[in-house]
Amino acid sequence: MKTIGCLFLFAIVATVPAAELWVGGATVDITPDQPVGLDGMRGIRVSTKAATPLTATALALESRDGHKSLDAAIIVSCDIIAIRAGIQDKVREKLKGRLSGFDLKKIFLCATHTHSAPVTEDGKYALPETGVMKPSVYADFMTSRIADAIAESWQNRKPGKAGWGQGHAVIAQNRRAVYADGTAKMYGATNDPKFRCIEGYEDHNVDVLFFWNQQDQLIATAINLPCPSQEVGGNAIHADFWYPVYNTLRERHGKSLFILPWTGAGGDVVSRLMYGKAADERMRKLRGNISRIDELARRIVNAWEDAYEGARNDIRADVVLRHCVKEIELPMRQVTDAEVAEARKEAAKYAKDPAQRWNYGWNQRVVDRYEAQKAGTEEPFKMELHVLRVGDVAIATNPFELYTDYGVQMKARSPAIQTFVIQLACSSGGYLASERAVRGGGYGAVIQSNRVGPEGGQVLVDRTVEAMKELWEQPVTTKRPASKKSRK
């Protein structure tokens, strides 16, 4: 019987081309050397200093059959708030002619969502005319650096190995409190007798990909954490809790380790606590007065180590790599008469105050959408969807602050052993709220916050799951069974 099994395995090997995985990485500093406007809040903030560097890390993956390239991907994780409209195109533009044989569509950028990184769009805030780097100037600097990182990662790719594992870290905290009257509020008080529950689920899985070189040295890791990094406030440039994660992992696993944070679906979560703050503060004090970001980093690193401990027992050299890129369309959330009336009133209130430009734009866009909707000229929401298969792992992107429920649906319906959902990738689609959140209202779930609503969210889930299934339906191209490696 064993012999038959071996023959069967031989048949697979003989009929399917071997896939060799090539891996490259590069990290660049994208910290501005001048004061910048900081993105992510309603008010204007100009940076006073760089408390930490901001970086972008590129991971290049290629599967090869001999000299033939079978498929490829370059993924760039950036310490910025979002990949605003046009940024990814600029990077691709700057790479034209620099990556021989590589389809530039197979690059995508994603953001950690730090709220302490530069604005990249002119006109979003009324920033001072002088003494502050213009957003478009910063965007040009940043996209050049990212293009350099991509080129470097592609050029330095070499045969490597991959592994994957899962740990757990309690980082994400659902930030929407629900009250007795059914309304919900982002960061609402929970010590209120009318508080009834936290609105939704939190995903505390930490999915990790590991890449080794031929000498079995760990060279890169991607960490899919379903929580944006926005613990830090204030006016300093800051990479948020990922900064201590970078430092700790590099201290332990090599200073040249390429680390890619991939933010999972977490539009309704942040790392800030909704209750239990006194206990958290006391524990951090007892740990040596560590900061909240150090505590979060400690948990992420522990989860990473936990995943690493398992993944080291299953390192693979011949993993399948497939990458599909699709342009898909999602229905827009429809603006109601009541919603447009409110938005019109609010936009008028802020129209003449430059300091309220964010609030004006937030409301005026609803009015514009309503008018397009009435005129029948409204376009569906167009987005670029990347779906990859790396061994038994699926990776799927979206440009939203995607509520956890959708990410959980994708993971539950995915054919993969582990599914990495990367939000805030390629572009910037705003919040995509769940049905229960829309019912509860509040920032993050009102019409101003959502271009796409639950109807579009469901289309996104279905299209993503379909794309993953397509990749899994194709025959597997492994050369040999998974190798087991003893722990070092």
């Binding site: 757990h168 505390h204 649906q409 319906r413």
Partner: protein
């Protein structure tokens, strides 16, 4: 005026009960029957003939003393049992009468870890015929009382001047087990790999609350751990098992001392068990890579959380904490049975009653639906409108401890924690037992997930048959618990 008077009384009472010293005692009893035994927790009875892991009752005795005078006390017993069924705690207190001089037996409570691989406690729980040659519940319970009483007496008698520390950590052990679909219906352990799947119904609480107790030399003597998950990591099986608490205790003792008494408590977790709803393939793979089973994996996570906390809180060991223990008999509005629910339940009961050959799960179903009929008829006559329960609330330093007898949905535990004035609120569900069963206490969103049907598992845990107390009663429980905790915090501490 009433409030001021209550405050004055509380201040006067508490000011005379503030502890200058904490006395601690602990002991453990093996409560594993060494013969075949019927197991509870499922719709059919299973007779266990093997032991996967032994069952224990862990006892913690606390006393506060001021100048040599005892000011308050408590005995907490964590049991590797499914539920402290009606009458069990009362019977145990009777059994203890005269054995604990100076101790108010009302200040003792039992709590269950909710392992589904522990003995049946009520003779009438299933069809007696199915108990076969197993140890009958009516034999097991007196034997259990003997074993637990020995440990309680030992813990009380060996109490000595000690110390306490507390801390909070995290372990992703429990998962919300209720799955919601596009038609609004919910299902416990429903399939998530379904295009109709829309989300996991509620929040998950992954907090691990720890209380460590030390002897006078600051050596760890006992550890109480409360976390929102029932002991249901490994499912099914016909072997006696303490579930993941066996592995957690083993690891904690290996690392912190072979004699450490570990008390596992289940915090509100009516909708939370250790089984993953979404992530099963990855979990299974990681188990294989680690060479562990699921009990061992959850035990590993609990022990890791304990390690993470214990080392840190050892820097803040206290000997002179306030300790106050209130026991209140309260009443919650009962869930009212509708006519439609009564009709469904009556139909099922009539069908079972007219059957000549009974199915294996008929005893369980008859009891499940029969209670709905009984409640409806009583409510029509003005009875069964309130649910009586015993509430224990303690203040131990900056920690509040609060009990309830239910499988209380996580949302209610979060409300209590969020509104509590304590630095940490250590909640224990499935604690104490009254004259009536307790069952689940679901949230409004869970109740909205489906009505009672002839299939007991349609929206199981949230229908009228699954819950004697509904959202209205739950809110009363939350308010009364928070109010009692606040009372204990209103007085200045020494």
């Amino acid at each position: 005026m009433k409030t001021i008077l209550a405050l004055i009384i509380a201040v006067l009472t508490l000011s005379s009960t503030q502890a200058a010293e904490l006395w601690v005692g602990s002991a453990t009893a093996d409560i594993t029957p060494d013969r075949p035994v019927p197991l509870t927790g499922n719709t059919t009875v299973r007779v266990a003939r093997e032991i996967h892991s032994r069952l224990f009752a862990s006892v913690l005795a606390l006393e506060s003393r001021d100048g040599g005078r005892a000011t308050d006390h408590a005995i907490l017993v964590s049991c590797d049992l499914c539920v402290i069924r009606p009458g069990i705690q009362e019977g145990f207190r009777k059994h203890l009468a005269g054995k604990l001089p100076g101790f108010d037996l009302n200040k003792l409570f039992l709590a269950a870890t909710h392992t589904h691989a522990a003995p049946v406690l009520l003779q009438e729980r299933y069809d007696e015929k199915d108990y076969g040659d197993g140890m009958q519940p009516k034999e097991y319970v007196p034997w259990l009382y003997e074993r637990m009483a020995d440990a309680v007496v030992k813990a009380w008698e060996n109490r000595a001047k000690g110390a306490v520390a507390w801390g909070l950590g995290h372990a992703v052990a429990g998962h919300n087990r209720r799955v919601v679909y596009s038609d609004g219906k919910a299902k416990m352990h429903g399939n998530t790999n379904d295009p109709m799947f829309r989300g996991v119904e509620g929040y998950e609480n992954h907090g691990v609350h720890v209380l460590c107790f030390y002897d006078s030399q600051k050596r760890l003597q006992a550890a109480a751990i409360a976390m929102s998950t029932t002991a249901q990591a490994a499912g099914g099986g016909n072997k006696v098992s303490a579930n993941f608490w066996h592995d957690a205790r083993r690891l904690i003792r290996e690392r912190h001392g072979a004699d450490v008494c570990v008390l596992g408590f289940c915090a509100p977790a009516g909708d939370q068990t250790p089984r993953a709803q979404v992530n099963k393939k990855a979990e299974e793979r990681m188990l294989k890579l680690r060479g562990l089973n699921y009990d061992q994996e959850i035990g590993r996570r609990v022990a890791a959380a304990f390690d993470d906390i214990a080392g840190v809180i050892a820097k803040d060991i206290r000997t002179d904490v306030p300790f106050v223990h209130r026991v209140r008999q309260i009443e919650l509005p009962a869930r009212i049975i509708t006519e439609a629910e009564y009709a469904v339940a009556r139909k099922v009961c009539e069908e079972i009653d007219t059957r000549t050959t009974r199915a294996k799960n008929d005893a369980w179903r008859r009891h499940f639906f029969g209670l709905v009929v009984e409640r409806y008829l009583a409510q029509q006559k003005g009875g069964w409108k309130m649910y009586p329960m015993e509430l224990h609330v303690m203040r131990l330093g900056d920690v509040a401890i609060a009990t309830n007898p239910f499988e209380l949905f996580v949302d209610y535990g979060v409300q209590i924690e969020a509104r509590s004035p304590a630095v940490q609120t250590f909640q224990i569900q499935l604690a104490t037992s009254g004259p009536k069963p307790a069952y689940y206490v679901p949230t409004p969103r869970a109740v909205a997930g489906g009505s009672l049907t002839e299939n007991a598992f349609d929206n199981y845990s949230a229908t009228a048959a699954s819950s004697l107390v509904g959202p209205e009663g739950a809110q009363t429980l939350v308010n009364q618990t928070v109010e009692t905790i606040k009372e204990l915090w209103r007085v200045p501490t020494k």
